[in-house]
Amino acid sequence: MQLARKDLLGIESLSKKEIELILETAKTFQEISTREVKKVPTLRGKTVINLFFEDSTRTRTSFEIAGKRLSADVINISQKGSSVAKGETLLDTAKNIEAMGPDLIVCRHWAAGVPHFLASRLKASIINAGDGAHEHPTQALLDLMTIREAKGKIAGLNVSIVGDISHSRVARSNIHALNKMGARVTVAGPATMIPAEIEKMGVKVSTDLRKGIASADVIMMLRIQRERLTMSPFPTLREYSQLYGLNKEALKGAKPDVVIMHPGPVNRGVEIDPEVADGPYSLILDQVTNGVAIRMAVLYLLSGPKGKAAL
């Protein structure tokens, strides 16, 4: 079975059924990565371009491995800076890549909406690998997979997302994904990092870490990205860590069987205490492993005959 979609641009427009299809498919691909010969011929002859306009090691490598395990030819292109700085329009860049005939383009960009821009103008399938502060759909999908593995279900769980919600595409994709799957979502962080009217996305908001994670089944910690911020919305990393850092003490209010997730890379000692990051309830490495399976599934499901609409 294939997705009747050309592109995967975000979780927002996905149906629950489509999410289930991706999760089920990923599960069947999981086994391939444990074989002696980690390769199947499924996407032989297909070309995948990883088009990254922003630094990324984890996501790019994960897509590259996913493509290679399915026997696709994977090419990495990194471009820095804006179209304005280059003097070339984004459309020109895109058309040049299209001229090389890729089947799938995995796009990471520092600006929100770039995958949508490409999807509406190119024939190749576009997979959003993170666009600005908008969405990072494969991250949310791998998070769903990881939660389901750990908890046996998603519906009915309390999930708290903690940190810089304003700048987080991981938070946005997860809010959409978790709501669609029937979980209850709370976001927590400094008021200066909670974007306007976020409660309309169907979440509870707390500026108090302890209240924010009370009775949580799952806690997702977000990376504090100080490098992105001018006029920091919090005074010091030390104070951030004191108020919003997840340590054993803070965890006491959560459920005893709470699990901890983090999209990486972890700022040890800032948003998360090493004791917690490495503790028994940490699923951080399972997330990375599942990432490969999810991306194999997405590449596979979008590589068939093209559907009309995008995800």
Binding site: V114, R121, A196
Partner: protein, 440 residues
């Protein structure tokens, strides 16, 4: 040469005419207004049956881009676009390259307009030298050369003392200071209205407060100085309230609103309004269209309604387009990096007529907002069709349906979110100084 415009419905708010009159033009001026049915010997005849005949529209706020950005627009293409939209006079902003902050640039613009332009061009001089927000521009010299107002437009004067000095100094020349009110500290990298849609799209927001704070400041400074302040492209509900209160207090403040702010909201950034040319991407709509990136940004529905209300009650004095042509290289890029602004001259009438059709404005009120009111703000002896007035006239059919087609724009740039939209209202003739410069 004599020209008579017959069988039309004349609306001339300045001279309190609203009915079936014929308009006789001679030697470039209005000669007479006649009861319908008169015959006039040896005159050319324009049959305006089914049409409104009105003073030519006056746009307080356009960017003609010349000199310096001729790849976006020229005085020739911009004034052609104006003519096609029914405008007979336009006021062009100073953010050219070089900036219009001295008489030689004003003279250059006016010379070009005379040689290549089709409608009347009235430059707005820079408020500060180089639009740098540091030192006053030579307003006396600029006024003498032909500037009718002063503004740094998009580069809002952030320094309150400079704004005070500008208002005080401009008073001598009885020219308005025009404020594009955005506090740059608060707008800080924002690309759309701050609110739910921006949050969902992950785009940095521009809070309404960024606008309201500067409007408050400038109104207060207008009160202190007794000078004339004009607020450009008002976009927030609170801004409308501030202007209303100021007017009640007797402060000399006027305001304009754009067709896009009274037609669209921030939701347009997420997806095109139905019936417009959405690119076939996902779910039939294309989010992040850079033609929805405008400063001030498209606001909430509450704000949009307040703007419409403000136009109807007279709190807002004029409809102005903020015609901002940008080439593909400025727009076919990341939303964050794309230039702010859209073209507006060729869509203003049909969008304004939507307010008439929805009974938010009377036809007379709409004409007032496009003619005599803007004329008064910048002190032009235009906007009415009394005998002796320059024969600047627009003849339009308000009920003829059409589809907005950017490919047919006279403007060099096609950056509009309204492409493909079905609207009503077609300009049939535009007449400047008695000469037909545009006709369908």
């Amino acid at each position: 040469m004599r020209l008579i415009i017959k069988n039309g419905h004349l609306i001339d708010p300045k001279n309190r005419r609203n009915g079936r009159f014929d308009l006789l033009i001679e030697e470039g001026k209005v000669r007479d207004i006649l009861k319908a049915g008169h015959t006039v010997a040896s005159a050319d005849v324009i049959d305006a049956k089914g049409c409104i005949v009105s003073p030519g529209f006056i746009d307080l706020h356009v960017h003609l881009r010349e000199p310096g950005y001729e790849y976006k627009e020229t005085i020739r293409s911009g004034t052609l676009a104006a003519a096609a939209g029914g405008f007979t006079s336009v006021c062009c902003m100073a953010n050219t390259n070089p900036v219009n902050d001295n008489a030689s640039i004003t003279e250059y613009i006016l010379k070009k307009a005379k040689e290549e332009g089709t409608v009347n061009v009235f430059p707005i001089g820079a408020l500060s030298r180089g639009l740098a927000g540091k030192e006053l521009s030579p307003m006396g010299e600029l006024k003498k050369a032909g500037c009718v107002g002063f503004s740094d437009d998009g580069k809002t004067v952030q320094n309150s003392r400079l704004m005070r000095l500008a208002l005080e100094y401009a008073k001598t020349f009885d020219a308005p200071v025009i404020s594009h009110a955005i506090c740059s500290d608060l707008a800080h990298g924002g690309v759309m209205h701050e609110g739910f849609v921006a949050t969902k799209l992950g785009l940095p927001g521009i809070p309404s407060a960024a606008e309201d704070i500067i409007i408050s400041r400038d109104i207060r400074l207008a009160e202190t100085t007794g000078a004339r302040l004009h607020i450009a492209h008002l976009s927030t509900a609170e801004g409308v309230e501030l202007v209303q209160k100021a007017k009640k207090k007797g402060i000399r403040v006027t305001a304009e609103a754009t067709p896009h702010h009274f037609t669209l909201t921030d939701e347009t950034v997420e997806a095109h309004p139905p019936g417009t040319a959405a690119k076939p991407s996902q779910d039939g709509a294309s989010p992040y269209d850079t033609n929805t990136k405008i400063m001030p940004p498209l606001r909430s529905e509450k704000d949009r309604r307040a703007i419409v209300e403000g136009l109807a009650t007279g709190v807002i004095d004029a409809i102005a387009t903020d015609h901002a042509p940008h080439a593909l290289v400025d727009k076919e890029i990341e939303f964050d990096s794309a230039a702010f602004g859209i073209v507006g001259l060729e869509t203003a009438l049909s969008l304004s007529l939507q307010l008439v059709e929805k009974k938010k404005l009377t036809m007379k009120k709409m004409v007032e907002l496009l003619t005599i009111n803007p004329a008064r703000i910048v002190g032009l002896k235009k906007g009415g069709l009394e005998p002796g007035a320059s024969a600047d006239v627009v003849i339009f059919n308000p009920s003829l349906s059409c589809k907005i087609d950017p490919a047919k724009f006279y403007s060099k740039s096609k950056n509009t979110p309204f492409g493909g939209m079905k609207v009503k209202g077609v300009v049939k003739y535009t007449i400047v100084g008695g000469k037909v410069i545009y006709q369908v």
